[in-house]
Amino acid sequence: MLEAFFSSWVLPTLRVSTPLIFAALGGLWCERSGVVQIGLEGFMLVGAFFAAVATPYFSNPYLGLFIGGLAGMILSLLYGVTVLKLRANQIVSGTAINLFALGIPPFLSKIWFDSTGSTPPIPSESQFHSAPLVIMVFTVVGSALIYHYSKIGMRLRFAGEHPKALESAGVSVSWKRWQGVMMSGFLSGIAGGTLSTYLSSSFTRNMSAGRGFIALAAVILGKWKPIPTVLACILFGLTEQLQIRLQGVVLWGVEPVPVQWIQILPYLITLLVLAFAVGRSFAPKGLGQIE
């Protein structure tokens, strides 16, 4: 009984939540450092592509995942330059990053594989089994510890909460924000990598399918704190899982519930939770402000 529950609810929910959790933690670090991050979707897409290319190339999914992370980080440097160095509007730049990222996989896959935005399948011997779940747990625990108990975490939070105080303590606010941005790029790249190498076995066009934005919603729902954010991701994963399980289920002995009703569940639950359960959500005070 317990085992069945584990294998049919707990594991699938965690699997579906894995990319969300990586991306949301990335978004959390970035937003906490005071930089708005709506480019998660773009980093994810690029990470997913490069992980799917690198894994069969090196026959090593770990290396592939890491390269996916690096690819996300490199794209995040571009975002860093525009918003931190050139002080462009963060929402507009983030949107631009997402658009730019849409074009990268088709462009490169055309050159490498003569395809428009899909990669050859990853052979089963170099596929992940459940390692990303373990990596995810370590990342969550590590992030929470760094966030609450380390100097690095504290300073990063101050960069977003009270940049002036941090500056008067002789710490570079801009460097902390660079760290936040790069962290979001790396973790979202990994998030994308889990999509293409763990949850499926190749890259297909636009495969992030809005997950970057759901991750961002999870950050807000989790009030910009690590554990609540992770729980919010799991809530989204659970609603997706519910959506899968409830399709075609006969309720009250009548016709199966129409699929459309089931499919609004994640959005409905999100709305309800946001409206009633969470109360006010306070963004970091210095979010989006660069002086």
Partner: protein
Amino acid sequence: MKSNSISSLRFGTVGFASVLILSVLASVPAFAELKIGLVLERSGKDDKSFNASAYQGVKRAEKELGVTTKTVEAPDNSAYESLQRAFAEKKFDLIIAVGFHQLEAVKKNAARFPDQKFLLVDEDAKAPNVRSVMFEEHEGSYLVGALAALHAKGGKIGFIGGMDVPLIRRFEMGYVAGAKKINPKAEVFSNYLGVTGEAWNNPPKAKELALDQYTRGAEVIFVAAGNSGLGVFDAAAEKQKLAIGVDSNQNWIKPGFILSSMLKRVDESVFDSIKMFKDGKFTTGLIRYGVKSKGVDYALDENNAKLVTAADKKTLEELRADIIKGKIKVPDYYLVQKRK
């Protein structure tokens, strides 16, 4: 947050579309004999399925008939009209629009360019200058449904559809009927990926759906979901169960785990139409491809030779003959819908 995502995607596709259109305009060869423009759906020529099949047909025509072809992929459903129009303005001889999403765009452009010839696959445009090709998916699905039931000792099979639209419901209805013909007690689990275009491009979710169905006891799953189908094949390999592919012959993707593929010979229909056009025999109006003309069929090749037995083949051929003779009436979702 959701609205953010939607508006940004919109932006993206508009920008992307204009780039595509520019590239169409820029790269038309100056002196070519017969110019064929192919407009594919967003899942593109590498979906290893429906669009891939159309693309193969065009490539074959290029090789065997010596025509010049140009292929574009729509970044989203709002781009079809301008992509088709770009071809029409460049005086392409024949414009091929693939997929039911293109219906409205073809209707508009056919009216705007009355001398331009179009080929529309998967819908009926009902316009004097459009040749519409439709497939009797329910008949082909009936055959693979029977095949699935033959391979499900426990009597449980699954269906996974992409976007929840009448076309895919038609696959499902034929499949269920075929399974019940072999095993009246057969139980069919059915899931859809979603109600938006993302449903065609979400293998991770398709994999979860398939894992769930296999866990509930399904032994064979038929998937009609574009790119997302790849996730179902992954699940089949992981669970050591069987899946059935769709549109193109997908048996090669996971040999040994793909029982067969329900072929929709889009490639044949496209090639035939181009050939007719070249020979001056192009006709407009609605043309239907069914099991009779092998426009829909089940795939047999070296990848599934060990899976499909001689007895299976015999049963399926009998069913095919009965459908052609009219002895078996395969339920058609389109007609059922109309009656409602």
